[in-house]
């Protein structure tokens, strides 16, 4: 049936919105939907071919009216054209929605400070640990990987203009400038205005929030209280 494949994409997109990770890119479905659109377009052109006397016309509704085809003469063809036309547009909307949801997800990742290298690193460790082939990096299509690269560059350029403010910082209103943190993973030594601190696993520190913001985001530290 028309648009059945596209509906799959939409359902998938709906599901992605709620998921914490990104499931694999539905390459086969996307290909099937684009193929459907091309088939429909071909059908439209072949339906219109007999009416195509002089001017070249597209499948667009307004152009049909202005051309040699009169819908009132042949309601059956007109109906077929309309259905084909709407199905193509619907398929396009579904594809756009699916890709938009995925890119939104990728942008979110970029904003939270994860870049593609981290994803691949995370992917390869989880692959080696439990043989999980559905790691994050491999679930992106090649285009999506490229998009994510370019978007993080764009974001970095935009952030670079705000010299004094880290735009990717926490969106929680700051209460105290000093916070208690617990170290979850060894993070080595960091330099602060009050001297250097060596962050070893399971130790606890009272530090300035601005100094450790990035480490909290990256999962090295956990904020307490």
């Amino acid at each position: 049936m028309y648009a059945e494949q596209a509906n799959k994409l939409v359902l998938d997109a709906k599901r992605i919105q709620k998921l914490p990770h990104l499931p694999p890119y539905a390459a086969t479905t996307v290909r099937a939907v684009t193929k459907e659109v091309r088939d429909l377009d071909r059908e439209v052109s072949s339906l219109l071919a007999p009416y195509n006397t002089g001017s070249t016309q597209g499948s667009d509704g307004t152009q049909i009216k202005s051309g040699g085809f009169n819908p009132a003469d042949d309601p059956a063809t007109a109906c077929a054209l309309l259905v084909n036309h709407l199905s193509m547009r619907r398929n396009k909307r579904c594809l756009l929605a699916y890709h938009r949801v995925r890119t939104d997800k990728l942008e979110e990742l970029c904003w939270s400070g994860i870049d593609i290298a981290d994803l691949q690193a995370a992917g390869s460790t989880s692959t080696s640990r439990n043989g999980n082939q559905n790691a994050m990096a491999s679930s992106l299509s090649a285009e999506e990987e490229q998009y994510m690269h370019q978007y993080s560059d764009l974001l970095a350029a935009y952030k670079g203009q705000w010299t004094d403010i880290d735009l990717t910082g926490s969106l929680e209103p700051p209460k105290d400038i000093f916070i208690d943190v617990r170290v979850l993973k060894d993070a080595g030594e960091i330099q602060t205005e009050y001297g250097s601190i060596t962050l070893t696993k399971n130790s606890q520190f009272y530090v300035r929030q601005a100094d450790v913001e990035r480490l909290i985001q990256q999962g090295y530290l956990q904020k307490l209280g």
Partner: protein, 218 residues
């Protein structure tokens, strides 16, 4: 504190406040409005410039004070840093709220460049370029040419999405703002916006008053 703001705005004869206090109020208000309004508001260029300049100054003051290592200064330092963090948070949250709106309705705001700052315009343009090249490499390039447009308005449904201008917002009236018309389900009624009133209204109804500064969103 809210009464204070209303008083200040209501009477011109009130003792003038220092610019920095007014800026803080303006920044807080801009932040609240940006976060609650369904639509992007004009970018407060001058305000952000003044605030950023002050943030820069404050950072260097703090650096100077840490350099002296005076135990007496520690308490002041903590207060200054807290203030700085809060200012940074306000600006950050404001900018992020704007970016989120721009990302949600990119094509709509492409037609309204006056609302954006030069930086945001740059961001929007390059983001759109990225997105459309992503779409086209992913699937659009294989589409029939007449279906490849992203801002198509033909065919019954416009592809350009708009923010919901009729969304309800909570607002407080700071200055008497006259009478506004409210479109009910069957008839049009009127409401007088009197100073101190709190209303729930459609954004399209109070938009002008908010831009004038007669009404603030809460």
């Amino acid at each position: 504190m809210d009464d204070d703001i209303a008083d200040i705005l209501a009477s011109v004869s009130a003792p003038p406040l220092p610019q920095r206090t007014l800026d803080l109020q303006a920044l807080t208000r801009a932040w609240v409005t940006e976060r609650t309004a369904p639509e992007l508001l004009p970018y407060p260029t001058e305000l952000v410039e003044r605030v950023m300049e002050r943030v820069g100054k404050q950072i260097s003051t703090i650096e100077d004070m840490t350099g002296t290592m005076d135990p007496q200064a520690n308490f002041t330092l903590v207060i200054l840093q807290t203030e700085l963090e809060r200012f940074k948070f306000l600006v950050r949250s404001l900018v992020r709220a704007r970016i989120a709106k721009i990302d949600a309705y990119p094509h709509h705001y492409l037609t309204l460049p006056a609302l954006l700052s030069p930086l945001e315009r740059q961001y929007l343009a390059s983001h759109q370029a990225l997105l459309s090249s992503h779409y086209s490499t992913s699937f659009l390039s294989t589409f029939p040419t007449n279906l490849q447009k992203l801002d198509d308005t033909a065919g019954g449904i416009s592809m350009v999405d708009k923010p919901d201008e009729d969304a309800a917002v909570f607002c407080r009236v700071l200055r008497d703002a006259g009478v506004v018309e409210i479109q009910g389900p069957s008839q049009v009624s009127e409401a007088e916006l009197k100073r101190g009133d709190v209303w729930v209204m459609r954004w399209s109804t109070v938009r002008e008053a908010v831009r004038r500064g007669d009404v603030e969103l809460i």
